[in-house]
Amino acid sequence: MGVVCVYMYPVPEGKSGQQVVDSMQRQLELLGAVKTGNFNVDCETYLSNNPQGTPQRSLHLLHNSEQPASCFSVLDTGTTLVADVLFEVLMAKLTQSKSGKDGFYQQRKGFKIESKGPRFEISDFVIKIGSVSMASNFKGILVEVEYCPCAIPAECWDLMREMMQSFMGTVADTPPAIVKSKKDQFYTPADTINQYLEHFTNFRKATVASQQPR
């Protein structure tokens, strides 16, 4: 596992998401990238049914097809838990309502958001072009680039930037905030998940804002 940067790639007006994905795919293939299957990162959100007096918590449960045996849970406080995928059964138990009484947590219906698409390899890099959708509505494009041989962002950022700018242009000028804050530390899969969550939260916020009456 190396260092990962996730960027929101803007979809220009008059173009569909699929067109942008296709042209980027062609560009990558010209660079010599080989398609190695598909990937998927998804996020479900739960809210606590706490008794009065305690703050309501939201809990995001995410999966990454790159780590298929794990699931990642992030609380609104920022605490991140990496657990076996069975943790989800525990969550299902907590959301279950018994004899008419609500569970401890409830799932936010229609709030599932995911990014999926093709996965490419080009020597030491793994590149993923994800189309983000929520309740089967297209929301945008997230591009993930991983440099596998290094785990410390400061050591490989310049190399990564050069690589990313070759097909993404100015989008990849500065490192994502999470990568920046961990420049001299070991980068972990939980950091990747937090980058995705940040983007997902922005997409969701944009949805809520656009739905409001003008």
Binding site: S48, N49, N50, P51, T54, R57, L59, S73, L75, T77, T79, T80, L81, V82, A83, D84, V85, L86, F87, E88, V89, L90, A92, K93, L94, T95, Q96, K98, K101, D102, G103, F104, A190
Partner: protein, 215 residues
């Protein structure tokens, strides 16, 4: 996704069951039992494996809901290992069933788990240290455990034994409806007699006794 896991997510019912028998042995006789187990179990020629775990029990309670309990184990020998466990109520079943059965869910977790549980609304109920050795025989797990009280919260150094005996447990985690396992476990338990009697211990009957000793 694995279909049994998918089913478990839909119903919220753990996909695995633990079949187990419990008993105890006085500290003075422990060595005889260990010798016997080393002979009976796999890898008789190597030293039995030791464990030294700090177990914390967390509870989530609400106004309407029945409290929800999880057990968190932290190995003191390998401090990077954290293990979260949910177990259901032990079912006695009828006479045809040879062992106690409970649903169980074992989840490996990262070291942020204590903070995570607290922020989720869980509160720590009690904690203890369990020290001992474990053996394998096929898919059966045999543990001989000494339980220790902790004199101070979160201090795993100052310990006091709970009793003058060791807890002996034989358990198998498997999917449901594998009654054959019960037979195998019963046969194994027979071979440990008369050193230790491994039985289906009715946990409901134990409760009043412990509450009396507490008062």
């Amino acid at each position: 996704m694995d279909p049994s896991l998918h089913q478990a997510l839909k119903t919220g019912i753990a996909p695995l069951h633990e079949y187990f028998l419990q008993g105890s042995i006085l500290d003075a006789s422990k060595e005889y039992l260990i010798h016997r187990l080393r002979g009976l179990c796999d890898h008789a020629d190597s030293q039995p494996e030791q464990f030294n775990d700090h177990e914390m029990v967390f509870m989530l309670s609400g106004q309407q809901q029945a409290p929800f309990t999880v057990h968190l184990r932290h190995s003191l020998l390998a401090p990077e290992c954290w293990h979260l466990r949910y177990v259901g109520v032990a079912e006695m079943g009828d006479k045809t069933r040879q062992t106690l059965v409970r649903t169980c869910l074992d989840v490996g977790v990262s070291e942020t788990i204590i903070k995570f549980l607290n922020e989720m609304g869980f509160r720590m109920e009690y904690e203890f240290v369990a020290r001992g050795i474990f053996f394998h025989k096929g898919i059966m797990k045999v543990t001989v455990t000494k339980m220790f009280k902790m004199n101070q919260v979160n201090d795993t150094k100052s310990l006091e034994p709970v009793s003058a005996s060791h807890l002996v447990e034989v358990s198998v985690v498997a999917s449901t409806s594998q009654e054959q396992i019960g037979e195998d476990m019963k046969n194994f338990a027979e071979q440990l007699k008369p050193l230790v009697l491994l039985e289906k211990v009715d946990h409901r009957k134990l409760q009043p006794v412990t509450s009396q000793t507490n008062t």
